[in-house]
């Protein structure tokens, strides 16, 4: 806010697309690109794999460090690193510096990298000063606060504020929106029954809102909640919040069948 267009144009963003978006839902990545470009950023996507959380949270520190070093290197040329995920952004911003603490070469690099890394909505709101989007969607949606975004990065009001500017969209708060959905990365396959008990409560809270659309900022949580809703026979659609903010909701919702007209581009 309060900058000239020329200053805005200088924001050179490397998109950390996240492995789940890359593999399962590229449309979220393209929605992020559109939102960033609309905010005056230039966006590039350096070659990447994963932020390393599966290794980090499994106690494999050596692999985590190798992957972290690779990510820090790949994004060295950019002014900013932006990820459409609170969980991956938290890994990059909070945990990379922890991984290299005390390392004279890498700690300063990890600290600098952390300082320029942002979760997508946080970046749009706080760095780019975006306060409204041009999107339109006639629906009632409910928003789930994913844990890392909420508790590691303090993301709470930003998604709600921006969603509030989507024409036609109504927000219905669910009970316990800030409670974990039970995904937890590898937790959901290591302890599937406990994970199921947790997501069952979440699905009930989502359904109780009467919303037709579930939104969140992390694809892992979304796949977990969408999968549970679908297994329960619910018709509630699930999307990443970036898709709605970018006005890119032509793709079928998460886990929904393709439209009969054939695969989307």
């Amino acid at each position: 806010m309060g900058e000239t267009m020329a200053e805005r144009k200088t924001r050179h963003v490397g998109l950390f697309v996240t492995c789940l978006v890359d593999l399962f839902r590229p449309s979220v990545g393209f929605a992020a690109v559109k939102l960033l470009e609309d905010a005056g950023c230039t966006v590039e996507v350096p070659r990447q794999s994963c932020c390393g959380q599966p290794a980090f949270n499994s106690g494999d520190r050596a692999t985590s460090r190798e992957i972290a070093a690779q990510v820090i290197d790949a994004f060295a040329p950019f002014d900013f690193v932006v990820a459409p995920s609170g969980s991956c952004a938290g890994m990059l911003k909070i945990h990379y510096p922890e991984l290299f603490r005390g390392d004279p070469n890498w700690q300063p690099r990890a600290d600098r990298f952390a300082a320029k890394t942002h979760e997508l909505l946080s970046f749009l709101f706080h760095v780019c000063g975006v306060r409204a989007v041009a999107a339109r969607l006639a629906a009632t949606a409910t928003y789930h606060d994913s844990c890392s975004g909420l508790r590691e990065l303090g993301l709470r009001s930003e998604p709600r504020a921006l969603l509030g500017t989507v024409a036609g969209l109504k927000l219905a708060e669910m009970h316990d929106a800030n409670v974990c959905c039970g995904f937890g990365g590898t937790f959901c396959v290591k302890y599937p029954d406990i994970s199921n008990a947790i997501v069952a409560k979440k699905a009930a809270n989502i359904a109780a809102t009467g919303a037709s659309l579930l939104l969140a900022g992390d694809l892992g949580c979304l796949m977990n909640m969408a999968g549970k809703l679908q297994r329960d026979g619910s018709a509630i659609a699930a999307r990443h919040v970036a898709e709605v903010l970018a006005g890119m909701t032509d793709e079928p919702a998460i886990g929904a069948p393709h439209a009969p007209s054939g695969p989307a581009p």
């Binding site: 697309v17 593999l23 520190r61 937890g184 549970k228």
Partner: protein, 509 residues
């Protein structure tokens, strides 16, 4: 304690020291415990209390106190400072305590503590002991041990009394019987208090409480020794502090001939002023009270002119692995003031309750503390059974980084090859690709296409052979088609009007 067991105990009284009946840990069976817990309807009903009431009450009192967050910082700093000079504060506490006529005993291990307590009881010829709620007593398996040595120990906290009737461990560190419904407790009372009229009405919780009171009143008067834990020990005055809501702790401490305080070494705080600050966060974090109903300081035996109090006063200071934590990465865990807020806010605890964790300390604090006390090889699942949602750390009154320390345990497990082989192989396979971004991009491009084809336009899978843990309960969303990176590459290539550089090309959509 039922008549039956106390008779057994008396009959079994040996000359030497009997070994403690195994205060058995089932930490190794976490998954099986959890599965059983998820299918236990009574437990699931009882657990709703934790999820609803504890959280709302804490939030309410925290919101009412503007300086609550600053108090948490102060509480953390007081504990950190004390831990940095723990040896000095323990010596100061011991000196002040001894000056007031008390006896301080150091116990390195659980066995040492049990033997010290038994020795005190034997010297007094004690046959009956009352107990205030003490997690450290649970940790050392004190009741079974005293029982096996002919001394009947009766729990006097209502929740502890109930689980003692059931021969269970506490399922929560401040609400030991929170896993039970009222109907189950009524059944236990009718079974245990078989001398009372059968037709009596026990519908109301207050009638259960009244019955426990009248039964326990006799025990209080008959006890030779009272054993309590300590929430804090104050170095400045030599005082031991307990916070309770039932007043049973006071009767335990003052009525018998001797009072034994059993406390772990990290309970010491420097001054009364420090104590006051910690008390302000303790009850608020625990039960959502501003203060617990009773906050009792005891400082040595009865003095000349005192109206009541014990003739002998002993303090057993237990290490049991804690001093080894002081110098390492789990040191912050020693800040814990046992409020239970972490488990009250834990989605895993809400789902499976405290017994699933298999030992004395459940929930996030147990997932960090238990491996330190009984060995990570005995408790491999505990630090893994967390989604890392971070709510425990968010509410911890002394800001213990619980998820970070659970991750530290996972690192130890990984280093020592204690994690399951399948998980290690899966991780190694994934890491091979994740560390080679170019190869990763090619492999995922193929995988995404194959999975999208396999889903045949239905958008998701109901069964996936390698992800049955997921698809047992949930559908699994199929990839949209080409990966983001391959699409991006293709677009950039098209925009530049030239082909991808060799080796950069992903599978095109």
């Amino acid at each position: 304690m039922t008549e039956g067991t106390s008779q057994t105990a008396a009959a079994a009284a040996p000359l030497g020291i009997a070994k403690a009946a195994t205060h058995s840990a089932s930490t190794q069976c976490f998954k099986g415990n959890a599965k059983a817990a998820l299918g236990d309807r009574d437990l699931q009903n009882a657990l709703k209390f934790v999820e609803v009431n504890f959280i709302a009450r804490r939030q309410e009192v925290a919101d009412r106190l503007p300086e609550f967050e600053a108090l948490r910082d102060a509480a953390r700093d007081i504990k950190d400072h004390t831990l940095a000079y723990l040896d000095l504060y323990l010596e100061a506490y011991e000196r002040r305590m001894t000056e007031q006529g008390g006896n301080v005993h150091y116990a390195v291990t659980a066995e040492d503590a049990r033997n010290i307590i038994l020795d005190i009881c034997r010297k007094l010829g004690a046959r009956a002991v009352t107990k205030g709620k003490s997690m450290v007593a649970e940790e050392i398996g004190l009741n079974d041990f005293l029982d096996a040595n002919g001394i009947a120990a009766v729990e006097t906290d209502l929740g502890e009394y109930i689980i003692q009737l059931r021969h269970e461990m506490p399922s929560h560190i401040i609400a030991p019987a929170v896993h039970l419904t009222k109907a189950q407790i009524e059944g236990d009372f009718r079974r245990a208090h078989s001398d009372l009229p059968r037709e009596r009405n026990l519908e109301e919780p207050t009638s259960l409480l009244a019955e426990a009171r009248s039964v326990l009143r006799e025990k209080f008067l008959a006890a030779d020794v009272g054993i309590t834990g300590a929430n804090f020990l104050v170095a400045e005055t030599g005082s031991s502090v307990i916070v309770t809501n039932e007043g049973n702790g006071d009767l335990t401490a003052t009525l018998p001939r001797a009072h034994i305080v059993l406390a772990s070494i990290e309970k010491v705080v420097p001054t009364l002023e420090d104590l006051a600050q910690l008390l302000r966060v303790l009850a608020r974090s625990a039960t959502g009270q501003e203060m617990s109903v009773y906050t009792t300081l005891t400082t040595g035996p009865r003095r000349a002119g005192d109206l009541d109090g014990p003739a002998e006063y002993h303090v057993v200071l237990l290490d049991n692995g804690r001093s080894a934590m002081l110098g390492g990465e789990f040191r912050d865990m020693l800040r814990c003031i046992r409020c239970g807020a972490c488990m009250n806010h834990c989605p895993v605890y809400h789902a499976v309750g405290g017994h699933a964790y298999g030992w004395v300390y459940p929930g996030p604090m147990g997932a960090v503390l238990t491996p330190a006390l009984i060995g990570i090889d005995q408790a491999r699942d505990l630090p893994n059974a967390s989604t890392f949602c971070g709510r425990c750390e968010e509410v911890c009154p002394v800001r213990i980084p619980l998820p970070k320390m659970m991750r530290s345990w996972r690192e130890r497990e990984f280093e020592r090859h204690l994690s399951p082989a399948a998980a290690r192989w899966g991780l190694a396979f994934w890491a091979f690709f994740a560390k080679r971004a170019r190869l990763y991009r090619l492999a995922t491009a193929v995988a995404a296409r194959l999975m999208a084809l396999a889903a045949r336009g239905r958008g998701r899978f109901r069964h996936l052979p390698l992800a049955s843990g997921w698809t047992r309960h949930r559908d699994f969303a199929a990839p949209q088609g080409a990966t983001f990176q391959s699409q991006w590459q293709a677009r950039r290539g098209a925009a530049r009007g030239n082909a991808d550089p060799p080796g950069e090309q992903g599978a095109r959509p």
